[in-house]
């Protein structure tokens, strides 16, 4: 067992599960989307990205790319949230909640791709 692989897989899967937890629920209902979950998903996603730095294989490059996509989507979602509650002043209205949730849905797809790639790589090694 390789500890590096464990940590790596842990962060990738955790990024997916947290993202899923935030995304699930009625898309327009603020009560179904917890801000702490979005925060955790973003932080774990960032850490997962850094974990993929410096891998020179083709698989490593694709994993880094999907992870960067997830980061981008989640950061935009967080910015929309912060803008709505602090700058715009309207609070979490329905259209805003929908756009936050759908952005995180995009990130969810990217994270699923990451996990699928991880599974493919694991199956290929057969050890």
């Amino acid at each position: 067992m390789n500890l590096e692989k464990v940590v790596f897989a842990f962060f990738i899967v955790l990024a997916l599960t947290l993202n899923f937890g935030f995304f699930i629920g009625e898309i327009h209902n603020p009560e179904h989307h917890n801000v702490y979950e979005l925060y955790a998903a973003l932080v774990v996603s960032l850490i997962a990205t850094v974990m993929k730095f410096g891998d020179r294989t083709h698989m490593g490059a694709v994993l880094l790319a999907t992870s960067l996509v997830a980061d981008l989507q989640l950061i935009v979602a967080a910015i929309v949230w912060g803008w709505a509650t602090n700058i715009n002043g309207d609070g979490l209205t329905e259209p805003i909640m929908v756009s936050i949730a759908s952005l995180s849905g995009g990130a969810l797809l990217a994270n699923i791709t990451s996990v699928v790639l991880l599974v493919i790589e694991t199956v290929q090694i057969r050890r």
Partner: protein, 568 residues
């Protein structure tokens, strides 16, 4: 390309831990700020949201410290802030420390150097030469090339020498890399396969390295010219066998020039003029006497020198400190030559000249000084091994100083810059001192006291379109026409044709009425401004026509029409 990406990969890989630490510390600090209850300005319970927490931790982490916002903190919030201040500051220091350590890492710096070198080479748009070895010879050669506007790329295995290159103040930017030039990957990086690479010059002081460079050059880029320094004759023969264009033996070339200086001083002076890049004023030829000479040092140089001087009417006494090691004949005098005793044994008082030819500059100077004290009338010749000793050799007031690096550098730069000049020097060898004397006076008549500048013109469509067109109209152009001043055809520009090459046969010092034909190559010497005038003339049809016939041609269609009418 490869080096560029590997820099990014290495940087990212090494920054992995610091970045994870930084993200974690920020995450913990921010979440703490949002979880700890506070009170607002009206005393109501209040919790910081993520937006404000991120804002607060960001400025606190960089220790800017704007204060407690948006409302004054409670005790619990202050306690948490205390913890996070230390966490963030330490993690930042750690990250920056790692970053600095990466930049100072010799391996990483080498990668950065390689990448910037490769980029600089790729950006060269003109023909360039790869110079391997930046010692005395290499640095002189690079200076000579760049002063003529030719690009160069330098590889040397010593960091110190590459630093010297960076501070040399050359007229063109010369990329340099500290690496092993025997490595084909390094030569490739230096642009061996680049379509602008015109040649490779192997000047390292290791024959095997030079051999590897020559093979690599000829295999990877068969069309480039390869110039090689080889100390042993075996290696030189080996290099020639696979098509190395020029091999130069430093001892042979040095001894050859040395011998020339002694038996044919005017010829030596001619060589000196034509191959000199620094514009020193013309000097009078030396006249070393024939008779008894003393030669100190019987190493590879001494042997080569003895071979070249053997044909002259010179009686040479050899002084050598290590007769067994150098395989010297039995009748030599054992000693270094730096002490009066040895020199007296060699009859220094009766000798006419002395050659200090050891491989140690201090010893050579000491030999000269001691010999002069014993016999002030001596003609002194010294071998200078290192360029940095210029000042002391100048101060020693020696009749003739021959510098090794200088001779090879000049030989190669003549071959590279004007290949015709190298031919001229080769074909002028059989002529005697008398011939050289006449040529010297003719050159002085043209250039006055300034050293001659040499240039070559080629009669073809791209280099001399005006001559090409004129010849195609079945009109003739003579060397006399080319020597006329384009502003006033009765005046002459300061130039002298040295050689004309026509269909592989060459004529030295051609007559003025020689007619040009397409494909001719002409070597000229004269003043720099004359070369500019001539190059202008051979490219401008109207100017050439004026110097040929004295008629000023009309250039536009309308003026041509009227001129034609008047003539009819």
């Amino acid at each position: 390309m490869q080096a560029d990406t590997s820099i990014v990969y290495i940087l990212l890989r090494r920054l992995r831990t610091p970045l994870v630490v930084l993200i974690s510390v920020y995450a913990i600090s921010i979440i703490g700020m949002t979880l700890i209850p506070g009170v607002d300005d009206q005393g109501k319970p209040w919790r910081m949201d993520f937006f404000h927490a991120f804002y607060f931790v960001s400025f606190m982490g960089t220790t800017i410290g704007f204060g407690e916002i948006p409302y004054a903190f409670t005790g619990a919030q202050r306690a948490w802030t205390l913890v996070t201040i230390y966490l963030t500051v330490i993690s930042w220091l750690y990250t920056i420390g790692v970053l600095l350590r990466i930049f100072q890492d010799p391996g990483f710096r080498r990668l950065v150097d390689y990448a910037s070198f490769t980029r600089a080479v790729r950006r060269i748009r003109d023909p360039f030469f790869i110079i391997c070895g930046y010692g005395d010879t290499g640095s002189l050669l690079v200076r000579a090339l760049t002063e003529r506007g030719l690009n160069a790329v330098v590889i040397d295995n010593s960091n110190e020498r590459i630093e010297k290159l960076e501070t040399a103040g050359l007229p063109l930017y010369v990329p340099g890399l500290a690496a092993d030039s025997a490595d084909p990957a390094i030569l490739n990086r230096a642009g061996l396969a680049h379509h602008n690479c015109a040649g490779v010059v192997a000047l390292t002081n290791n024959d095997k390295t030079n051999l590897t460079i020559a093979i690599t050059g000829k295999l990877i880029a068969p069309d480039t010219r390869v110039f090689c320094r080889a100390e042993s004759h075996d290696i030189a023969a080996n290099m020639t066998s696979f098509g190395t264009d020029y091999t130069l033996n430093p001892f042979d070339s040095f001894a050859e020039r040395f011998a020339m200086a002694i038996h044919s001083p005017s010829m030596y002076l001619l060589y000196d003029w034509f191959t000199s890049e620094h514009q020193t004023p013309l000097t009078e030829p030396l006249s070393p006497p024939g008779g008894d000479w003393i030669l100190c040092g019987y190493g590879r140089f001494g042997k080569a020198l003895q071979r070249y001087l053997a044909s002259e009417d010179m009686d040479i006494t050899i002084i050598e400190a290590d007769p067994e090691g150098t395989g010297a004949p039995a009748d030599i005098i054992v000693g270094r030559g730096t002490e009066a005793e040895t020199l007296e044994k060699a009859h220094v008082k009766k000798a006419l000249g002395i050659i200090a030819g050891t491989n140690n500059d201090a010893n050579n100077l000491s030999i000269i000084m001691t010999a002069k004290a014993l016999n002030p009338e001596l003609f002194t010749v010294a071998r200078q091994n290192e360029t940095r000793n210029d000042a002391i050799f100048n101060a020693a007031n020696i009749d003739l100083v021959v510098e090794r690096g200088d001779i090879i550098a000049r030989k190669i730069s003549a071959l590279i810059i004007t290949p015709l000049l190298a031919d001229f020097l080769k074909f002028s060898r059989p002529y005697d001192n008398q011939w050289a004397n006449i040529l010297i006076s003719r050159i002085s008549g043209v250039t006055g006291n300034n050293p001659p500048y040499t240039w070559a013109i080629e009669v073809d469509e791209t280099n001399a379109p005006a001559i090409y067109e004129t010849l195609n109209e079945n009109l003739s152009v003579t060397l006399k026409d080319l020597g006329r001043d384009p502003r006033n055809r009765d005046a002459r520009i300061k130039c002298l044709p040295l050689m004309i090459k026509h269909n592989q046969s060459q004529t030295l010092l051609p007559e003025e009425d020689t007619k040009l034909s397409i494909g001719d190559q002409i070597l000229y010497c004269g003043s720099k401004s004359a070369s500019r005038n001539m190059i202008y003339m051979i490219q401008n049809y109207n100017t050439l026509s004026y110097v040929r016939t004295g008629d000023e041609l009309s250039s536009g269609i309308i003026w041509k029409y009227f001129a034609g009418k008047k003539a009819r």
